[in-house]
Assembly symmetry: C2
Homo-oligomer: 399 residues x 2
């Protein structure tokens, strides 16, 4: 009994039958005596269809007008879901961002939430309505419509849960929780009952597509209890919270991989101070997001710097560097995968890295680059070795 925020993604509301199924989950929660606020994404392919419409008109439409266009997708799905709940005999009301008072900055297409005015939401809860909020959207100080970028509806749900001090924020997805590895690829993958915010953050950053990391960051900041559950099976999912209590603390929580990565190397840089500073300042000014960085040890007065960027940024980055470093060789490689292990437990356990490298050695996988943080270790390997590497690592730590 309390206030529960439930978020449903686009595939969960893709057609009338799926909308009815979701309405069933919501009304069951309401029947159990809870107040319920729902956040919903646009149906299935709606957003892509709208983007296509815009691109028929303009190759590069203004982001303000794109946000005006795209937010109709969530307005459609939230009104349909409210109708489905009403059809079952329950009181429901759909609200858009300007109605439920979510204000953001003016960074169209990727806006950050500034505040939620809970007046309308509280009023509708007081009259015992199930509230269906259009996710992914906000309004800025000019009263213009913004969108919150990738995973925006997750962020909407967590922000509403934080503003109204909800007891739980449930994120419904295609999977029934967070696994120790991708269950479609690794046969021994296990579902986690609980995971910490930090572990979830690392997993999200490292390519596990379950939750967008902005929403996890926000949940951690405001102490919002999250649960990842399945829209298709009614059973407990994975809880995401500050501290996890388990009898046997696992060394690591999961194995993740990320294919959307490419490696760029600038060869033969002068081995003098300031070269790395100059290079990464240039990349920063050009809004290139760099992940793993490796600098070779200087030899013969020169050194090489390698780093990884997303595949989408590779071409532009290589062009930029070839223009700015005409005397150096700039090479790139796309057939690489980043495999990572994550776990709060590794902070207090030596030998985790050694065990990881052993697992890779056992299946003959060569490591190209290594990167570590307090609760994760990532290695860069050839994409062809990806499946074998993940399976071997998973079984070494988690089976």
């Amino acid at each position: 009994m309390g206030l529960i925020v439930q978020k449903f993604g686009g595939s969960s509301v893709a057609d009338a039958d799926k909308i009815r199924r979701v309405a069933g989950i919501i009304t069951k929660t309401y029947d159990a005596g809870n107040d319920v606020i729902v956040v919903v994404s646009a149906q299935g392919d709606t957003t892509d269809d709208l983007i296509d419409k815009a691109h028929e008109i303009s190759k590069n439409p203004s982001r303000r007008e794109m946000d005006m266009l795209l937010t109709t997708g969530e307005q459609i799905s939230c009104s349909l879901l409210a109708m489905a709940i009403q059809e079952m005999g329950y009181p429901a009301i759909s609200l858009t961002a300007w109605q439920y008072g979510l204000t953001s900055d003016s960074n169209y297409s990727n806006a950050r939430i500034k505040s939620i005015n809970d007046e309308r939401l509280s009023k509708e809860l007081d009259s015992h309505k199930i509230i269906i909020c259009a996710g992914f959207q906000g309004i800025n100080k000019y009263d213009d419509i913004t969108t919150l970028g990738r995973g925006g509806s997750d962020t909407t749900a967590v922000a509403i849960a934080a503003a109204l001090k909800a007891d739980l924020c449930q994120i419904y997805t295609d999977v029934d929780g967070v696994y120790t590895a991708d269950p479609r690829k690794v046969k021994n993958a296990k579902k986690l009952e609980e995971i910490t915010y930090d572990e979830m953050l690392e997993l999200a950053t490292l390519g596990a597509q379950v939750l967008c990391n902005r929403s996890v960051e926000l949940a951690k900041k405001y102490g919002v209890k999250l649960e990842v559950c399945s829209s298709y099976e009614q059973k407990p999912g994975t809880k995401v919270k500050e501290e996890v209590k388990t009898l046997e603390k696992m060394l690591i929580t999961g194995v993740a991989k990320d294919n959307d990565i490419s490696r760029i190397s600038v060869l033969g840089l002068k081995d003098v101070p300031g070269e790395a500073f100059k290079l990464f300042t240039l990349l920063g000014q050009n809004k290139v997001n760099v992940d793993i960085i490796l600098q070779s040890i200087g030899r013969d007065g020169t050194k090489d710097i390698s780093f990884t960027v997303s595949k989408a940024q590779m071409r532009n980055t290589v062009d930029l560097l070839r223009e700015k470093y005409p005397e150096n060789k700039v090479i790139h490689e796309e057939n690489i995968t980043k495999v990572s292990i994550v776990g709060a437990g590794m902070q207090s356990n030596a030998g985790v890295a050694a065990k990881l490298f052993e697992a890779l050695y056992n299946v003959g996988v060569n490591i190209q680059m290594i990167s570590t943080s307090e609760i994760k270790i990532s290695v860069l390997i050839d994409s062809k070795d990806e499946a074998a590497a993940v399976e071997s690592i998973h079984d070494a730590f988690l089976a």
Copy 2:
């Protein structure tokens, strides 16, 4: 040079090419030195598609949620049109009803406009933007979204023109103006240069689909100059205004027909005072809109009352009357058409009715009912005679 409001219907913005054509009309008006506010309907079949989506969920969805759903259609078309104008290098901005400040009452699906707060519109005009407004929508005092009913975008355009004291409100349609009869059906039909609000009102009421009469009423009330023009041909349309000056005042302005009509008769009512009062009070309480009424002369202590209603209301009305008048015979007829002539000139000319009846007699058409007002005469005839009747009347008065 002034402020021009331009309204484009759904078929005018049905696809990317048509949107570009409309953008061409708008920017040409802007290039001539005018401020331009555009009101746009939903693209082509969008509204019908959204209604279908709702009906997959609920046979009788709440009107509040339907309005939430349907208004996305205009939000889509206004953002796409703004993109098309920007693509041509002009400044444009799209606005929804809550942004341009159109408030209405809370009669969802058929709301009446209460006011327009011109603050945002004036601000965008001051910065020389072409403003694209989503038509057909408003917000009520609860900050909920409403729709303005059939022809709502015309009404939006006239209301904005009135609020901002625009110099002209142009309604762009499939036809290039108002004709003396339907030009697809009557070969001698002529385009009118000018027509009065009252004549236009009668024509709109009588089935000429060019303008919805709420928008004409509003234009008359606030003295907004209207022009009906074609989205496809750039030439002067028909001006609608208070007084029309023509050298030879035409006796009538046009011939219109309306098929969406059915006749209901209650036979054998007592020929005592109060029977008609009771009957039409009952119909009014049940929200039945009655058009032409005919009461027979009493005979043998009984009388018959006949009246017309829209085809959509016929079934329910007949059921209602059979329940409430179990002792009377209630009959109905659907194969009827109302043909009307309209013209301010007939006020001061005797013999108009006689000429009308002669034109019908000449082609052997029987008149079932007659109704007159100051500037129109309507007759009810069998639907099979419709084409011959309209042509004969048109040629008698207008050829």
